[in-house]
Symmetry: C2
């Protein structure tokens, strides 16, 4: 039962990620390679009234972003597909992914939603509104290369060793990036394993890069690797392998 509930929840997380990507792209047909996307899209189209207001996208620049954060954001954002004001399509290999403090905050219905909603609940990485105090990050996905990058600026509330980022905060960003990447690649998934090697500490306030790669897919399993480096790539902070298990989306809704 709890396992089923877990599947339900993970499924809603996936729905959130995938539908967010699609909302961002605003294209009925997307080139993002997602198994099960059709079903997810049907769900999103069938339940438009679920979303009662437009949530804040935390992945856009704010006053706390330092020069390195801005430089890397502009580097990848400049290579994103976009539609200009004149209606022209700008080509590019990358997509920026929006990020919210909770998708379900904006939902008002659903068979299982009422059972699992806690109105005060917030996404762990977006639970502090003070800009720059905690996790400042933005994800980009490159579907052709089956790669994700995340630009991450670590705020002063993420301390572990004095002056440096807590190992758990680093694990949190790794889980976020690889989990999002696995969802894009394989549809609804559950995290099964994170194996993190810590090589060198990350100073508080610094901006680092997380790069996520597809290693292989075998049946229900999606294997992802991820490295965290300094913003110029010269220093390796962590190396990670991650395993995700695909789950049946219809089972999520039925609680089976």
């Amino acid at each position: 039962m709890a396992r089923s509930l877990g599947r339900i929840c993970k499924g809603f997380q996936c729905l959130g990620s995938v539908s967010s990507i699609q909302t961002q792209l605003r294209q009925p047909s997307t080139s993002v390679s997602v198994r099960g996307t059709t079903f997810v899209r049907t769900m999103v189209q069938a339940l438009p009234s679920l979303f009662s207001s437009k949530p804040r996208d935390f992945s856009l620049p704010n006053s706390s972003w330092g020069s390195e954060m801005m430089r890397l954001y502009e580097h990848y954002n400049g290579q994103c597909k976009a539609e200009t004001e004149g209606g022209e399509k700008q080509e590019g290999p990358w997509r920026r992914l929006p990020s919210y403090n909770r998708l379900l905050k904006y939902a008002t219905g659903g068979v299982y939603l009422s059972k699992i909603i806690q109105s005060k609940a917030r996404l762990f990485t977006r639970n502090i509104r003070d800009p720059g105090a905690a996790f400042e990050y933005v994800l980009f996905v490159n579907s052709e290369e089956q790669k994700c990058v995340c630009v991450f600026q670590a705020g002063h509330l993420l301390e572990g060793p004095p002056g440096h980022v807590h190992g758990g905060a680093i694990a949190t960003m790794i889980d976020t990036v690889t989990g999002t990447h696995a969802t894009i690649l394989s549809g609804p998934v559950m995290t099964a394993n994170l194996n993190i090697n810590y090589r060198s500490p990350i100073p508080l306030g610094s901006t680092v890069l997380l790069e996520s790669f597809l290693d292989k897919k075998e049946g229900r399993k999606t294997f992802i690797s991820c490295k965290v480096t300094s913003s110029d790539g010269s220093k390796l902070h962590t190396e990670t392998t991650a395993l995700f298990l695909s789950i049946n989306f219809s089972h999520l809704l039925l609680g089976e």
Copy 2:
């Protein structure tokens, strides 16, 4: 250089943990088995003016603690060594470890402190003061059995999958518990690896147990395993192996 700085920082983290244990025990000679304790104690005794005020101990009960959190706290706390008001010593195999939002907040000097202090920085697991909103936890150590337990109540700001705890928040608690345990067992250490298998999700608001065990020590390496279960032990949430590397404490202070 950054590696050295990391060592310095990890060392101060260890100093914090070990000296906190000693402060808690209020005994000049402790039975806690800590390599390098003598050196740490000398440091603490030599720099009494560093600590200008008594910090808040976050590991004591507050109004947010639910019945299961209180039951487990009392279960272990009742088995702790303590000195009664009459001066009698109450025997017990466990020790409760205090927990602060930052040790260096209360420091006012030191060769390296001024270089690494960021006055607004807070320990990641103690960065929210609203009781019950995030990480509510208390650690106990059993030196004879070389075991630690942590009672953890997961607040609504730790959400990942809707209604459940973020995998990164779970990793954060695992890093905290195993890192503290390794410090007690081996003195100053650095986290080198966390390998986490996620078995079943943890509902927000629930209380779980983290149990940490020494697997073996080989030279500089301390191998710890940790499992997270429901409070009655019937459901397994995660299984983890962790590796920590001992570091030379004198090198920490010299920045070598």
